[in-house]
Point group: C2
Chain length 295, copies 2
């Protein structure tokens, strides 16, 4: 069966979701869309998407429904319960949650899907706005291998690196692994640059000495220049990393695993968020170090 | 004046120093060498180096003396005092300390050099054994610009990225910036891999999802596979990162700068060292997380 015979649904058309749904429409899939703020649907409706009034209405006429919403509670509300996607999908349908959310909730959703005679994948992404716009996302997938295989042509419209990581929840776990690595790396970059500036050195000149060596990282090369320029515009929001690190810590505790570096990074980002930085980009962590006395 | 008319001295011919001194001999410089354990001089003597019995004897007949020793106290003993390099160098000579050492000590040495009518550079390196062997080191230099210029042909025999970072101490400060970034990055890599393994995932498969994205770093790509294989052989010794992070913390305190991520990383490496890991490579930090209860 040609997958383009399938009707897709997309719920959550924010900055990332809009680009991702757009690629699927461009690939020829009929598309039904829902967003809590309907004004964000405009560009997709122009491309031919059908607007729906709620998640159930998306699901009823769709074979595959993708969700890209905000927080685990939004995922829960959208997918579970009598008005949710799972209860209203056609038999054999697939729900793919691409929100960064809780691994435990992903397992709950996969079990609920089974009871409804449908299937679920957890498939969070990394690569940000740019990755979504260029269909270059890394998509980390958890769920049944056969469901992954049948969803792959759809995922390939949105991403470049698409890896089946294991059973339900594994996609979310992989995304949390990613966030754990990023958070401490960014703390290191931030503290390195704070040290350089406080020492009266030229931090950009220092970058020329260190960024191609053992200290090299995407965070160092991408974020250090923004920190130094005082450019705190969001590529990835502080409020979102606070959410993700909270999920990572919660999951680590469930596994009885202590991660002191993650705890430290979470405290720093929470302090930044509480101090008015929630809408800044993650590189604004540098502010904690340049605004004396905050750390 | 052709620099190859100059006689060089090299003090400290361990794994790194031996390769570095070898490149200078290969480039045609007459070379005088000293090492606390004279048995390590063998390969350099075969290349034509002259063995000396102490640092003063190296300095007396040399125009430029390079030191690559262990700890700041070794740097101090080798360079300062009546039997040290500075007191015994010919007028106009240059002492280049390439040990990772204290920025404050580097400034003390530069001032002492002036009083002796000689000059000093602090020029620590990154790139490890491999960088030393292939003359691909990054060399971070502090001191007078004119002295840097005249030493450059010598440094170019040992390194690829050679940057004058500022006045005396700036090379050491830059190296500490490098180590600050590495330490927290490595903590993040370690905790990410510990989380992945504890969650029952395949950590190498996770690397395929995350290592080319925002979590990407030299530490992730180089160290995660060694951690997962239980390969703790030293590229860079735990005892050396403990030294470097101690210097960084001490310097941060002198500047009244709090770096909680660095403090956390230092505690972890110190615990690893105290638990018998001093001679392991830095990636052995992973052991703290797999040996339950240690963190």
């Amino acid at each position: 069966m040609n997958l383009r015979d399938k009707t897709l649904g997309f719920i959550g058309t924010g900055v990332m979701g809009r680009s991702m749904a757009g690629h699927l429409i461009d690939a020829g899939y009929p598309m039904r869309v829902y967003n809590r703020s309907p004004d964000k649907l405009g560009p997709l409706l122009e491309k031919g998407a059908v607007a729906c009034r709620n998640p159930a209405e998306v699901a009823r006429e769709a074979d595959v429904v993708i969700t890209m919403v905000g927080y685990p509670r939004d995922v829960e509300q959208t997918l579970l319960g009598p008005d949710g996607v799972l209860a209203n999908l056609r038999p054999g349908g697939i729900a793919i949650d691409m929100t960064t959310s809780s691994p435990a909730l992903a397992r709950t959703i996969a079990n609920a899907a089974l009871r409804h005679g449908v299937a679920a994948l957890d498939a969070p992404v990394s690569g940000g706005d740019t990755g979504a716009r260029n269909a270059q996302l890394s998509i980390m997938v958890g769920g049944e291998a056969s469901v992954f295989e049948s969803a792959l042509p759809i995922l390939q419209c949105m991403g470049k690196t698409i890896v089946h990581q294991g059973p339900a929840g594994s996609g979310q776990l992989t995304k949390l692994v990613n966030q754990i690595a990023i958070a401490s790396t960014l703390v290191g970059v931030c503290e390195a640059m704070a040290f350089a500036r406080r020492a009266g050195l030229d931090p950009l000149r220092i970058l020329s000495s260190i960024e191609r060596g053992a200290a090299g990282s995407v965070q160092l090369s991408a974020m250090a220049p923004r920190m130094l320029a005082g450019d705190y515009a969001a590529g990835f929001y502080v409020k979102h990393i606070v959410k993700d690190l909270g999920l990572a810590l919660e999951t680590a505790r469930e596994m009885n695993l202590q991660l002191p570096g993650l705890e430290q990074a979470t405290r720093l980002f929470e302090k930044l968020s509480a101090g008015g930085g929630a809408e800044d980009g993650t590189q604004a962590l540098f502010r904690l170090y340049v605004d004396a006395g905050l750390v």
